[in-house]
Amino acid sequence: MAYSEVVMDHFKNPRNVGEMKDADGVGEVGNPICGDMMSIYIKVKDDRIDDIKFLTFGCGAAIAVSSMVTEMAKGKSLEDAKKITNKSVAQALAGLPTNKLHCSNLGADALHAAIQNYLDRQAGKADKETKRKDPHQHTHGDKCYCPYCDVEVEEASPVCVNCGRELEAAH
């Protein structure tokens, strides 16, 4: 089994699962290619995340990430919750397999989207359509990286030299 014990624990006993009908902010992120979808609901009191719930369609890692991110955010001030990153979630889970880092990057994104949605609502703005992430737009700077293992690849390369997976034209 490639997953850490922490991941398996959060997958088997996910914390904060469920819908929140009277949420103050909702973050929905999805990944059309991999097929992961994540919704995070927050209840805010005195600029703190008073309650948080999630719904996730995705693999074991995605569920564990959702569970962990809700646990990390619960009780935190909005400012501190914004500082939670995909990386810190993965660290708290004692690591994720490299190909799952990519698949499970939704956790902090969904949380941040929920916070933004709360702030927008406070500012009187209407709910925005959540932007869907495309995992194949992983260009940092002018170099291209394999979306699966994050190793540098040549622009025109049809396969990743490191993990051997087929690459889409835009990576």
Binding site: E19, C34, G35, F54, L55, G58, A61, C103, P147, Y148
Partner: protein
């Protein structure tokens, strides 16, 4: 508790008789069948016997038309690349289908880098190729048609004999990847009329790491592995005798027991589909109901993702396989499921259940019970399920 194996396609048990043959081969420490002395003669005699056993399984006219390989993947690579290389003077066009195994797809990908051209014909919603599409795809410079006998994800069996009729008329070599069929359903190379046919021992209770390629006499093909004159000059390298002897015995038993195995698997399949349809809502049974492997069921469970199902069932002592992109490591939705019209989300929630001689009705029932619970748990945390319920309300 005994683990319930519903992932027979990945691994099925070695039959006791197969184990014995392999252990005996180790104990006897056979020589090299290519040697010109008596140590080698014994090995050569035993190798010839295994070749006859395997030839009988696919009804090859002559055992000389059977080449032993390191498994299904090598057989497929050999067939596809070997024909491409040997016939490049005639043309560089190859016809295949949209739902082939990666062994075929990636062999073709390699050939495309060498300027070969590939036409891939579509399949219908059951995963069947229309032979007319193959006929239309064949051009003057077509040198090879490669279509699988049965699909490893949805079990659909192709009209191979009809396609072979076309390739014979058009004088194009036909390779059939029959890895998931040989030893499971009747496969007769003469009735099918194919030129090349790939198969593997581990699909019929033989060892993994050994397979075969049927090469009809007179077929223009190059070796894939170059070196000595073994395997009638078609596959160099000292033979894997231990594996081959195991395969020979497994082939003999497959011939003897094929009808009984098919009957047993077919009953389990019916029970499994009935159970799934009765107990779990919003599922799609994939593949053809008639032209299909008896030992495989593909089910798309809507609104959930397959890897979660695999992990949760594993906790319950049940082994299944998923075609979810996330679990595959490749992070790509199954090309087979997309080809038959499943969308990305439904492809994500697809399980491949495969079973065999040791599987019991009680195991099928226990699986359906466990799956019902797992599906409920995962759907209760799925935003897609919530949306579907809201839409229905």
């Amino acid at each position: 508790m005994k683990v319930i194996n519903l992932d027979y396609l990945a691994s099925n048990p070695l039959l006791p008789q197969v184990q014995e043959a392999m252990i005996e081969a180790i104990r006897k420490s056979y020589g090299n069948p290519s040697s010109q002395h008596q140590i080698g003669d014994k090995a050569a005699t035993a190798l010839a016997k295994a070749r006859e056993q395997v030839a009988r399984l696919i009804n090859a006219p002559s055992e000389k038309e059977v080449v032993f390989t390191s498994g299904g993947t090598e057989s497929v690579n050999h067939a596809v690349k070997g024909v491409a290389f040997a016939n490049a003077d005639k043309g560089k066009h190859i016809v295949t289908s949209n739902i082939e195994h990666n062994a075929v797809l990636r062999s073709l990908r390699a050939l495309k880098m060498m300027d070969y051209k590939v036409t891939s014909v579509p399949v219908d919603s059951y995963g069947r190729v229309n032979p007319d599409d193959v006929a239309k795809a064949i051009k003057d410079d077509t040198i090879l048609v490669t279509i699988m006998h049965s699909n490893n994800e949805i079990g659909t069996i192709q009209p191979i004999a009809e396609i072979a009729k076309i390739t014979r008329e058009r004088k194009v070599i036909f390779h059939c990847d029959a890895v998931d069929s040989v030893g499971v359903v009747p496969v007769d190379v003469q009735k099918l009329g194919v030129d090349l046919l790939s198969f593997a021992a581990n699909q019929f209770y033989g060892p993994s790491g050994v397979g075969g390629l049927y090469i009809r006499r007179g077929t223009r093909i190059w070796p894939l592995v170059d070196g000595g004159v073994q395997e009638n000059n078609k596959r160099a390298g000292t033979e894997n005798l231990i594996g081959i002897f195991g395969m020979g015995v497994a082939a003999e038993l497959a011939v003897r027991d094929l009808d009984a195995r098919m009957l047993h698997a077919g009953e389990l399949k019916e029970r499994l589909i009935r159970g799934l349809e009765a107990r779990i809502e919003d599922i799609i049974i994939n593949g053809h109901r008639e032209f299909s492997l008896p030992n495989l069921v593909s089910v798309s469970i809507r609104y959930i993702e397959g890897e979660g199902v695999v992990l949760m069932l594993d906790e319950e002592g049940i082994a299944v396989s998923t075609r979810s992109a996330c679990a595959a490591g490749a992070l790509q939705a199954s090309h087979v499921l997309l080809s038959i019209g499943r969308d990305f989300a439904d492809a994500q929630g697809t399980l491949v259940l495969s079973f065999g001689i040791t599987t019991t009705e009680a195991e099928i029932d226990r699986f359906v019970d466990a799956l019902e619970t797992v599906v409920r748990t995962l759907r209760n945390m799925s935003p897609l399920y919530l949306k579907a319920r809201e839409a229905a309300a």
